[in-house]
């Protein structure tokens, strides 16, 4: 009783402060926070091991953010802190500019890696229950369920028990249950695991659509090819620590090894040793590593000057997978 009273008062206070901010302006104006989520020096220790060790990162609004790391790195621990399942020992978590607390649960959608639904419950009842736990009214829940039924063309499932559905069908229901309350932040833990290619594509399209509507998405996985496809920013967690953080393009630049692939016609006998070392040369294709301080243009003009006919010329950037392995093995 007392606690809830205090909470209400705090709510009121923060609301008044915000009004004040809006009217008079404030340097850290909450309402226009560019990040949906900010972790600052978050620690979480379990009995013997430190699961989250001084992790900080920001998730920009409306982006797809990759939370990466090998198994057991601490991804799930971080997600559980964000979803208020557990609490950080120290450090702050800001959600949409506010300190994270319980009311934010209704603004977050979470799909754990290990999926689960009530097997004996009917699809319609289940979705209603889960969405009402997220704060929707009966009416709202009904409308949203209707919307998703139509979208996925699954109205006929309404009165089916979950155990009567195939695994792929269950995954769809799971996905709907995760996003039915239009969360500001969507957390997907390995969303594609166990999905066939058709359903995986369907879910991916939905994710992209949600992003276009402005939903921020945290995408936790250890499957790098998926990350490369859809994530703009990533954080790489290893042994509870933040080992890499930033835009995917920036990180690739950071890890590039100045490799260039040249496709050509004829022979590549003439050496370009002065500017680059050939890594591999095969029929019509060569991979060259640029010497330090040499610009790609210099290499290009060097090749042209050797009268080699160029078909294509491009820089080879490392894949996230390579970066991942490299970083983790360091």
């Amino acid at each position: 009783m007392f606690v809830s009273r205090v909470k209400i008062e705090l709510c009121r206070l923060s609301f008044k402060l915000r009004l004040f901010d809006i009217i008079f302006g404030h340097p850290n104006l909450n309402l226009i926070s560019v990040n949906i989520l900010s972790l600052e020096s978050v620690f979480k220790k379990y009995q013997t091991k430190t699961a989250v060790d001084n992790v900080s990162f920001n998730v920009p609004k409306g982006s797809i953010f990759g939370l990466l790391g090998p198994n057991g790195a601490g991804k799930t621990s971080i997600i559980r802190i964000i979803t208020s399942i557990t609490r950080a020992d120290t450090g702050t978590v800001l959600f949409n500019g506010e300190r994270l607390y319980e009311k934010h649960r209704t603004q977050i959608g979470y799909m754990p890696e290990e999926r689960g639904l009530y097997k004996k419950m009917k699809v319609g009842e289940q979705l209603t229950y889960l969405s009402r736990l997220k704060g929707l009214t009966k009416k709202e829940a009904k409308d949203r369920i209707e919307y998703w039924y139509n979208k996925f063309d699954i109205s006929s499932w309404h009165n089916k028990k979950v155990e009567e559905l195939s695994k792929g069908m269950q995954q769809k229901i799971q996905f709907i249950a995760t996003i039915i309350h239009d969360p500001l932040l969507l957390i997907l833990d390995e969303p594609f695991s166990g999905l066939d290619p058709v359903n995986a594509n369907l879910i991916r399209d939905e994710i992209l659509e949600l992003k276009n509507k402005g939903t921020s998405i945290i995408f936790s996985t250890h499957r790098m090819e998926q990350v490369e496809q859809i994530c703009e920013e990533i954080v790489l967690i290893h042994e509870g620590k933040n080992v890499l953080n930033g835009k995917v393009s920036d990180i690739k630049q950071q890890f590039k090894e100045h490799l260039f692939e040249v496709e050509f016609k004829g022979d590549f006998n003439n050496s370009v040793d002065s500017v680059a070392i050939p890594v591999s040369i095969s029929e019509g294709k060569a991979v060259l590593k640029l010497n330090e301080g040499v610009s790609p243009n210099k290499l290009l003009s060097e090749i042209i000057s050797k009268e080699i006919e160029i078909v294509s010329f491009r820089e080879i950037l490392p894949s996230l997978n390579e970066i991942f392995i490299k970083t983790v093995q360091k």
Binding site: Q47, R80, T83, S84, I85, T86, R87, D89, E102, R105, T106, I108, Y110, M111, P112, E114, R115, G116, L117, Y118, K119, K120, M121, Y129, L130, R132, L133, K134, A177, T178
Partner: protein
């Protein structure tokens, strides 16, 4: 609606709509009804009069059949002319239902009847008599023999009746010593019977609910854990809310079931008994006319009277409190155990025993306490919070001192709160732990785990 309300609603609705719930809820009153009907039939059956012909070869009965009183069940006829073997063949033509044959060999010395210790009679019939008719014949013959014996001994029946006194004629009137201000209370023998019965029923009910519904809570927790849905739910609500909602929801299912039974069982039995009223009156008048055990009738009336003399408001009030607190205490423990258990039932058995053993122990202590409600074991067990939910209701009908009830209740409520808190902590940690076998030590560790 609050989230807790939503959880309670789901836990409640999914169970109440289950076929198994509907079936057991309906079948139990029907079972009681059938039991009741059978009892009724037994009580009123055999009202067809049986015609019994007596062949007294020994001559011990001496007189004609008018000496033996007939009743609604048996009519006697006395036959001196026809032989047994003849009668056996013509029993149907003569419309007799049976032949009561007293052979010559049954009485060794007809001159010295007072020495007769027992009498062996034979009964021939195509269909044997019911228990009531048979015992009626026995009692009539015994009565007859007694009067013959008395006459032979020269004792007047009136004198004998005057001398007769039974143990039940000694009125035992216990008065409780103790508080001077309190009125001395009558504690009659039948009151103790009734109290034993009431206490036993209440005790069993609570025991039953704790075991059955506690297990239901545990299974439900395990199901959510192995289903992995629990992680989704607790990203929306606090684990404690989920646990509490479950306990309250399942408890409400139990109350619903008992509520339905409390209404349907007496109603159905009442309706059925209306059909039997006519027959029942018959058999009552038969009992009276035959003077079968008037003591029992008296006892019965006394028991009925005692039934009304209890302070049901007080009993029900405390019963509900102990019932609810006991259920919540144990259900929360069951929930904690459910959260600690993995998918493997067998593995969890030893953990379940930790919770089940105190309940079973309490039940057996309760049985002993009903026998001797104010023993030191009774006082201790009805105050000790792990036993009190089962033992105190058994004792409460024996009107223990109020301070004991209140102390017990206070301790129980305090412990209820404590156990719910502890279980909440174990539950919170347990539902997210997978794969490891949980030991008791770990449970203790989980209690002190940070959020």
């Amino acid at each position: 609606m609050s989230k807790l309300g939503l959880i309670i609603e789901r836990e409640y609705m999914t169970r109440v709509r289950k076929k198994s719930f509907i079936l057991t809820t309906l079948i139990t009153p029907i079972g009681f009804l059938i039991f009741f009907i059978v009892i009724m039939f037994l009580m009123t059956s055999g009202t067809d009069q049986k015609k019994v012909v007596i062949i007294d070869e020994s001559g011990i009965l001496g007189l004609d059949s008018s000496a033996l009183a007939s009743n609604s069940q048996v009519v006697f006829e006395y036959n001196k002319t026809i032989k047994l073997n003849e009668l056996k063949k013509t029993i149907k033509e003569n419309n007799f239902d049976g032949i009561l044959f007293i052979p010559k060999t049954a009485v060794q010395n007809i001159e010295n009847i007072p020495e007769l210790k027992s009498l062996k009679v034979e009964f021939y019939a195509h269909q044997q008599l019911g228990m009531n008719a048979q015992s009626y014949i026995q009692s009539v013959l015994a009565e007859r023999l007694k009067s013959i014996k008395l006459a032979d001994l020269g004792i007047e029946t009136v004198k004998l009746e005057k001398a007769e006194i039974k143990s039940s004629d000694i009125q035992f009137d216990p008065k409780n010593l103790g508080d001077e201000n309190k009125k001395e209370k009558d504690v009659s023998g039948s009151r103790i019977y009734v109290a034993t019965f009431l206490g036993g029923v209440m005790m069993f009910l609570i025991y039953f609910v704790i075991i059955i519904y506690g297990n239901m809570v545990m299974r439900s927790v395990m199901e959510e854990k192995t289903n992995r849905i629990v992680e989704i739910i607790i990203s929306s609500v606090k684990p404690f809310e989920l646990m509490l909602g479950k306990i309250i929801g399942v408890g409400a299912v139990g109350l619903t079931q008992f509520g339905i039974w409390a209404v349907t069982i007496p109603t159905l039995n009442f309706i059925v008994s209306l059909f039997f009223v006519g027959r029942l009156q018959n058999s009552n008048s038969m009992m009276q006319s035959a003077k079968v055990n008037p003591d029992e009738m008296e006892n019965f009336a006394e028991i009925l009277q005692e039934l009304w003399s209890f302070n049901y408001f007080e009993i029900f009030f405390f019963f509900m409190l102990f019932f609810l607190a006991g259920y919540i205490l144990y259900a929360s423990l069951f929930a904690a155990i459910g959260a600690a258990m993995g998918d493997d039932w067998g593995e969890g058995q030893s953990l379940t025993m930790i919770v089940v053993i105190p309940v079973i122990l309490a039940f057996y202590i309760g049985i002993a306490v009903i026998e001797d409600p104010n023993s030191s074991l009774g006082v201790f067990a009805s105050i000790f919070p792990l036993f009190s939910p089962v033992v105190m209701p058994a004792r409460i009908v024996f009107e223990p001192p109020m301070w004991q009830i209140l102390l017990s209740l206070l301790l129980l409520l305090g412990n209820c709160w404590l156990f719910v808190w502890i279980s909440g902590r174990i539950y919170r940690a347990g539902i997210l732990m997978y794969g490891k076998k949980t030991t008791l030590r770990e449970l203790v560790k989980w209690m002190f785990l940070k959020e």
